[in-house]
């Protein structure tokens, strides 16, 4: 059952990119593609408050991170280092929602999410 459920939910990072692209299209936003370079800058920058994405995930997403407050170990974020990442749409949406609220005080746009994922997918 667990295996079936995980197979049913299985997806790839590219599937998530496709969803972000669809989101942009639905919102009538310009489709200029996703940029790993923009994603990297976004990932390492603070956005008006204390934390950046790298505060917990470190500036090397191929390595394990550590929660900035609780010090709990966080498995690597880059799919090359952790094949489970970005395979389940609900999990991806949950963490972007929570973490964007923590880091930016708002939800991320589809463009921002796509750029960040593009960056993470570029890491080998």
């Amino acid at each position: 059952m667990v295996l079936l459920a995980s197979l049913a939910a299985a997806g790839t990072p590219a599937d998530q990119q496709k969803r972000f692209e669809d989101e942009l299209r639905a919102a009538g936003s310009p489709l200029g593609g996703f940029s790993a370079q923009r994603g990297e800058a976004f990932f390492n920058a603070t956005h008006g408050s204390e934390w950046s994405c790298s505060s917990c995930h470190t500036s090397n997403p191929l390595a394990a991170g550590k929660h900035a407050r609780t010090a709990k170990l966080i498995a690597p974020l880059a799919p090359a280092a952790n094949p489970e990442r970005f395979t389940d749409a609900a999990t991806v949406d949950k963490w972007f929602r929570r973490n964007c609220n923590d880091v930016l005080g708002r939800l991320c746009t589809a463009q921002e999410k796509g750029d960040v994922l593009q960056y993470l997918m570029s890491l080998k």
């Binding site: 407050r69 609780t70 929570r98």
Partner: protein, 163 residues
């Protein structure tokens, strides 16, 4: 029936009553025990265990769990919101196995396990510097000293205080 026989029956009855009372006490203890070690719950472990260890339900009273679950989007400074289906199941689990209101009473306006009467009492011999060790970082980090906290085991024999 002579007096000796009557006394013997009385003695046997006394024994049986004593035995029954003993069994009732044992059963009561076993129930208290089962309350202490709640069976693991998948959504609880997944959702409550991603940023910190999944704190066992018996560490806080039901009322405090309700308050925590009602403001997950502002959970001690972070957004820890979960989908409504998981939230309902987690709430039911936390409340079902919650701690006794008296023992786990939280200080006024407190929501933290570290602000409960029993926590303060259990840790009153800990020098304050221990909490600030880099390997500990905060009192919320049970596993820094309770090496088997992740498995819900807080027994004294498994405590290793980092230097």
């Amino acid at each position: 029936m002579d007096n000796t026989a009557r006394r013997r029956i009385f003695d046997v009855t006394g024994w049986i009553i004593g035995l029954l009372a003993g069994m009732a006490l044992l059963a009561h203890d076993a129930m208290a025990d089962s309350k202490r070690s709640a069976p693991p719950n998948a959504p609880w472990r997944a959702e409550c265990g991603s940023c910190h260890i999944a704190y066992p339900p018996q560490l806080l009273p039901a009322q405090t769990w309700r308050q925590i679950m009602a403001q997950l989007d502002k959970h001690f400074g972070t957004d820890a919101s979960v989908d409504p289906v998981a939230a309902a199941e987690i709430s039911a689990y936390l409340e079902r196995y919650s701690g006794s209101a008296r023992r786990t009473a939280v200080l006024p306006d407190g929501l933290r396990i570290t602000e409960t009467r029993w926590f303060l009492h259990e840790h009153d011999e800990m020098p304050s510097a221990v909490w600030r060790l880099p390997a500990v970082k905060s009192a919320a980090n049970c596993a820094a000293c309770h090496t088997t906290a992740e498995q819900g085991d807080f027994r004294e024999r498994n405590i290793r205080i980092p230097r």
